[in-house]
Amino acid sequence: MTKTTRWMRGLGCALGLVGCSPTASEPPVPEEPRIASDIFGALGDVIPFATPEQRESFERGRQVMLRRFTPEEGLGPSFNVASCVNCHEKPVVGGGAGRYRNFLLVGQTLPDGSFVPTGVNGVQPHFTLEGVRRPTDDATNTLATRNPIPFFGVGLLAEIPDEVILRNADPDDADGDGISGRPNYDRGFVGRFGRKSQTVSIEGFIRGPVFNHMGLTSNPLSEEAKARLPVPSALDGLPGASRLAGGLRTVRQAQAAAPDEPTVDDDGVPDPEMSEQELFDLVSFSMLTAAPRPDAPTPESEAGQQLFTQLRCDACHVPALEGPRGLIPLYSDLLLHDMGPALDDGIVMKLAGGSEFRTQPLWGIAAAGPYLHDGRADDLDEAIRLHGGEGQRSRDAYVALSHAEQARVLHFLESLGGREQRSDGMLPQDAPVPPTGDWGGPAAALNAQDQERFRQGQHLFDRDFGLREGVGPHFNGDSCRACHFDPVPGGAGGLDLDVTRQGIFVDGTFVYPMPGTMAHRHGAVDARPPLDPRSNFFERRQTPSLLGLGLIERIPEALILANEDPDDVDGDGIRGRAHRLADGRLGRFGWKANVPGVHEFVRDALSNELGLTLVDEPGLTFGAARDDDDIADPEVGLSTIETLTFYLASLAPPPRTGARPDLDDAGLALFHDVGCAKCHVPAFPTTDGRDVRLFSDLLLHDVMRDGRRSVEDGDAQVNELRTPPLWGLAQTAPYLHDGAASTVASAITLHGGEAASSRRAYEALSAPERDALLAFLQTL
């Protein structure tokens, strides 16, 4: 594998873009390819050479990336995520994602060794619109974890000719260096995208996941649209298409090799659910993302680069491939390599077998963790140590280095782009504390010490916890922010982050499953968390906003209890019952009012959502002390718990937005007239006299529509839910405990039980009155 090392010469100079030009006195040397110009940018930037028109398409595509699709817009019938950015968010749009966005590839390995994808084209969706966790197909006997992959600079990779990639192929290891490398193919072209280089077309690589992970159908781009894409993507025969010597009209452009069949589904929304313009802009956005800009060389990074070469990392992580614009320094040969049995995932994709993976490009790697195809490595050092197969020799050589030398290698890798944008979670490294009273800021002005404590809490809340820190064995998120991010850390979460609860109904009676009602989304690598086989009931649970919890905690218990009317003594049809925990504490938080305070909430979430074990705290009952992963218990100490508790207890409630004082009285009057305020009590005072305008009584009510049920939780029955606070309503869609309503209006009409009369009153309002009420609710 020495054929390409010539590209190494001068690459360091070229990346530095300084000081390498021959002087006039030096003899002329044959011109070697240079690093392509005008291709670098910060992660998420548009590529510098983009035209004004392309920049407009890039921005439109970015908006499509951010668009959160609803069931009414075609999401489903099965799905893992509701928007593209859900998997490509870190550190910016177009990147990867934390482990909470891991997903499973699934298939059936047959007796003859062939592999049939199951699920939805080989992807296991977690959710269904019906709220049931989509079962694993009976035939599935192979599951493999995948961590989302960044796609910065893919337009440049799309332009690299097949022949350039094939120059590095050595499938039979003819040179005997232990590194083989073979291409994958897609419709006759050399594949280059995906963990197994299974795809050649960016359009194909977008349409596939959009359907498999979101359930959004699309038509292939028309030839006319393809002809306008930034990377040539049209079939032959088009006016304006370039022509080969000899006059043939054929132009074998790899990007034209996109699947040419429409995707269809049966969710009741007309196909295609994604418009051609949206698809065009998405493809354009991807093609126009800039190559990650490397850092200027330093003595440390240059020393690391030398070690990188000495270790023979560059045998697979080829520094650059030559495209039509010059050398593209991606640090990958885009070929398949056998990575050994420990990483074998059993997934066959075209020519790639279970242990074969594409050499991951290293540009921008500093900001791309977790690492490896399944995200099993917390950091780059661990990723290197997990290399096997063809990478074993280099891995062993790395391990044999001194710590200082290993640090230089890592420093070099981190110099390949993204270092400044790296985040421990999603917030920038130097994210400030938002202003007091603002979204994500503290509720009250803090002294310097508490301000710093709040900042630490904000960082902890946002931070991705690693597997080595104890996340798992089963978990829903790897950070608090994973679920509570909307519109700021501490907020609510989308449909695709719902928690799934399981339960067992026997003759109408709820029976608790083992080990509990939580049906975790993530488990061990290459496995789906098990369910209680007796479970016959599933329920999606929306992520509630945490903004203002500290204020709710300070509402005097007596004021909450004063609204109880469990026997409907006043005959208004509204009962309301406090949730008393077994130890007598009053439950205030959660859809079932099952959590008594912020401190307990933190313990509950760290254990049940992140799979972290906690140090015991006298008088507190939530959280697990032990689990069966390989990390010593407790995995989280008091400091972390207390800092998070302080942060959440200090978070400001959602500020009112767009309030119209002139309409407030009318809106609030309608709110009372319709009867909403009977449960959604507008405000309580705190013990220290603050007004808490939460619009909830914090009591349990039967508001289930059409006799539906939910999972029982302690004293909260299957027909009971806590009145959810309405503050911040505009920013917490979708609505209801199971996310069944995409809009507030829909949520109102889906109220049942005790709320049926209010629903009818709402439906009887005139259109202007309904609009006024809805407008008022949007301002809370």
């Binding site: 035939a139 419709r187 304006g240 006059g247 009209r249 054929t250 020519l351």
Partner: protein
């Protein structure tokens, strides 16, 4: 440069001038055929051509059309001509004949036509599934296969006993969710092969259907053979795949970078002709499973290939899969070699 080649280039130049200089919409041009091949007829406006075949003693028949209107073209002594159909039918997909007066054609939405040499009549079948393939050992022993490929239960097996078509229960398959069968071919009434989604291969021995595992999990689109001990299946969708049955066992091979294959035909045990996506035309050494492709000159899709008694090899296809109203057909031909 041959005159024929020069002619092709002049045609291309003329098209280029028309497309770029006259301000009027240019029709989709017919691609140049590769060396050795020539247009069978101008199929640009013929719709998609899904299959070409000829019954013993009968003329070549190409079937296809549009989703909403099936069509046929027949080769006569003076060239190809459209076949007149007395009723509207959807896209037609495959044909099989026993003679000029007994030809069967299947198509979308459970369409089955029978031609007696004078006219075509629609024959009722107990399914509305799309039908992709048909083959028979005798006029009273035909099989048709199909399925929309979307839902469990779509995969369809039909049998004709000379009087009526009946649905044959698809046997339980170990392979998960095979929702379409694409082609059927046999060497005799007790040696029938069916291929379909996800590498499905079934064999009928006259009594039962048996699932075979050929080492492929990609869709297998077509099957043909030269006797009980020489059967070739092809497919792949993206990359070409092939498997050979020698009477005892299957041997399979990935053919990448050869693109996915749709059609196969052979008359001698060692040479098969295969066609597929991305303009793929190739000769396959059946013994070594090695493909020898013709350099592609089009990105259009070939769907079927057939050699007729007159010694011509014909491949048909079009812009299959493309959405749009601009259906485009393609029909190329070349003489068969002595050992082909």
């Amino acid at each position: 440069m041959s005159v024929k080649r020069l002619s092709g280039l002049m045609g291309a130049a003329l098209w280029w001038a028309l497309a770029t200089g006259c301000g009027e919409p240019a029709p989709a041009p017919e691609p140049d055929a590769p060396a050795g091949w020539a247009p069978a007829f101008d199929a640009t406006d013929a719709g998609w051509l899904m299959n070409v075949s000829a019954p013993p003693g009968g003329p070549l028949l190409a079937v296809g059309g549009r989703f909403d209107q099936g069509a046929m073209h027949q080769r006569h002594a003076d060239g190809w001509a459209p076949v007149s159909l007395t009723e509207a039918v959807p896209l037609l997909n495959w044909s099989h004949g026993f003679g000029p007066d007994d030809v069967w054609v299947v198509g979308n939405e459970g369409t089955v036509l029978n031609g007696d040499g004078v006219q075509w009549r629609r024959v009722p079948v107990p399914t509305a599934q799309d039908l992709w393939g048909i083959w028979g050992a005798a006029p009273d022993d035909l099989w048709a296969v199909g399925g929309r490929g979307r839902q469990a239960g779509d995969a369809t097996l039909l049998h004709y006993d000379g009087r009526e078509w009946t649905v044959v229960q698809v046997p339980p398959l170990q392979r998960d969710r095979v929702d379409a069968f694409y082609k059927v071919w046999g060497s005799a009434h007790d040696d029938v092969w069916v291929v379909g989604q996800k590498g499905a291969v079934l064999h009928w021995d006259g009594t039962v259907w048996t699932e075979h595992f050929v080492g492929i999990s990609d869709d297998l689109i077509s099957v043909w053979g030269a006797g009980r001990e020489r059967v070739v299946v092809v497919g792949g969708r993206s990359n070409g795949v092939v498997a050979r049955w020698d009477g005892q066992a299957w041997t399979s091979r990935e053919l990448a970078p050869l693109p996915g294959l749709n059609g196969v035909w052979l008359r001698t045990p060692s040479v098969a002709h295969v066609v597929g996506i991305e303009g793929t035309l190739a000769v396959l050494d059946v013994d070594t499973l090695t493909a020898h492709p013709v350099p592609a000159t089009t990105r259009l899709t070939f769907h079927s290939v057939f050699g007729d008694a007159s010694g011509d090899l014909t491949a048909v296809g079009g812009n299959l899969g493309a959405l749009a109203d601009a259906y485009q057909g393609l029909a190329w031909t070349r003489p068969l070699g002595p050992n082909e």
